[in-house]
């Protein structure tokens, strides 16, 4: 059954990808890439990777579409024809494809019980997690507990990306006294009442659900990245319904930049607290009397830091694009 569903979804994926490449207008490509990420989320779901599916759905279909459309609003819509460079692109892509296929021939088949990952790595984590960390969701335990350094690195990648975008785009804001322009959707369409009302009604539920996903990540699919993406999607919905100026009044740039920094500081702060309490960096066992309670506390705080930074970065990028559009 899984094979049937998987084959179907993968075929649709290939067709969507061909459609994205062949589309003349970039807008069509953006819309189709929304479908693409939905199909990917479905694939991950069928393969039992719930955390990844949640992240893919929250980021790919929600925030990424909005960001790409905001970027597209600043550019011309038609794809510039590449001419002879297309041949070079085709050669590079084909060479990479052949390399990948050649490498994948030696890999064990999906779900093979004798594969090294299923005989060495996975059983170790599955057996040791209840003993050392005591958390039902092994993915979160690995992400924030066993491999905390990697997640720290990922967090700083997101932090750097957000800071970079702010450096590039946020220079249009003058210091203090930013004139709040009326939202540009004033003329023409009057369909605003119904979508605005429903949008406003749903926003608190999205934020509430984001908090649920953040703190339920120990027991079910969830965690910091998913929660950050969902929370920022909720505020983006508010911005779409009420106008970006109103959303900036709710969460100003100062608060957003504060959030970006605060999350990273929280993560590193937990590591330093572990150092000061006698353990090594990011060894949560020393945070409480009982090592397992310490692990829980550490993972909770660390995931919270990730969630704060991710939502801050996504919202800051959205507002940078949207505000730039208003300034034209």
């Amino acid at each position: 059954m899984t094979v049937l569903f998987g084959a179907f979804l993968l075929t649709m994926l290939v067709i969507t990808a061909i459609g994205i490449v062949r589309a003349q207008h970039l807008f069509v490509s953006v819309v189709l890439s929304g479908i693409y990420s939905l199909q990917m989320a479905g694939m991950f779901f069928i393969l039992d990777a719930a955390d990844v599916a949640l992240t893919e759905a929250a980021v790919g279909a929600g925030v990424a579409t909005v960001l790409m459309l905001s970027a597209l609003a600043l550019l011309d819509d038609r794809e510039r024809s590449a001419g002879l460079k297309r041949l070079l692109f085709a050669v590079v892509a084909s060479a990479t494809l052949i390399l990948l296929l050649h490498a994948s021939v030696d890999m064990p088949s999906l779900g093979d019980p004798n594969a090294p990952v299923h005989t060495h790595v996975a059983p170790w984590y599955l057996e040791e997690t209840p003993r050392l960390i005591g958390m039902p969701n092994v993915v979160t335990a690995i992400l924030a507990g066993f491999r905390g350094y990697d997640t720290l690195g990922e967090l700083f990648v997101i932090f750097t990306a957000g800071t970079g975008v702010l450096f590039l785009l946020a220079s249009v804001h003058e210091r203090g006294g930013l004139a709040l322009l009326p939202s540009p959707d004033g003329t023409g369409l009057r369909h605003h009442l119904v979508p605005r009302l429903i949008g406003r009604f749903i926003v608190p539920f999205i934020v509430l659900f984001a908090l649920y996903v953040q703190f339920h990540g120990d027991f079910g699919p969830g965690g910091g990245f998913q929660a950050g993406a969902l929370a920022s999607a909720g505020i983006v919905l508010y911005a779409l319904a009420e106008g970006e100026a109103t959303a900036l009044k709710v969460l100003s740039f100062r608060v957003l930049t504060g959030m970006i920094a605060a999350g990273a500081l929280l993560y590193v702060g937990v590591g330093l607290a572990c150092l000061m309490l006698g353990g090594t960096f990011l060894d949560y066992s020393v945070l409480a009397d009982d090592p397992i309670a310490g692990q829980h506390l550490g993972i909770l705080l660390v995931e919270l830091g990730v969630g704060i930074t991710v939502s801050g970065v996504l919202l800051a990028i959205f507002h940078s694009f949207a505000a730039r559009e208003q300034r034209r």
Binding site: M12, F27, L32, G34, A57, A61, D185, L230
Partner: protein, 91 residues
Amino acid sequence: MYVAAAIAILVTMALALTRALLGPSVYDRVLAVNMFGTKTVLFLSVIAFLYDRRDFLDLAVAYALINFIGVLAVLKFVQDYRLRHPGEDQR
């Protein structure tokens, strides 16, 4: 029974994809994407029951909330585009 419903939803997703690829106007494509989104939510729910992983329903809830944002964003973009480029024909 779950399998029958799941297959029906999958086939509909394929049909919506076809409309997204064909659709002469931009609104046809947005319609197809919206439909694809709601079908994804239903597919996730049915598969969660099929594989007896009830705690995966969180994904369907998340997606049901997010689906709306994409459609609104696209509509806002198209409206702004028309305001800036009046008189262009639709794609």
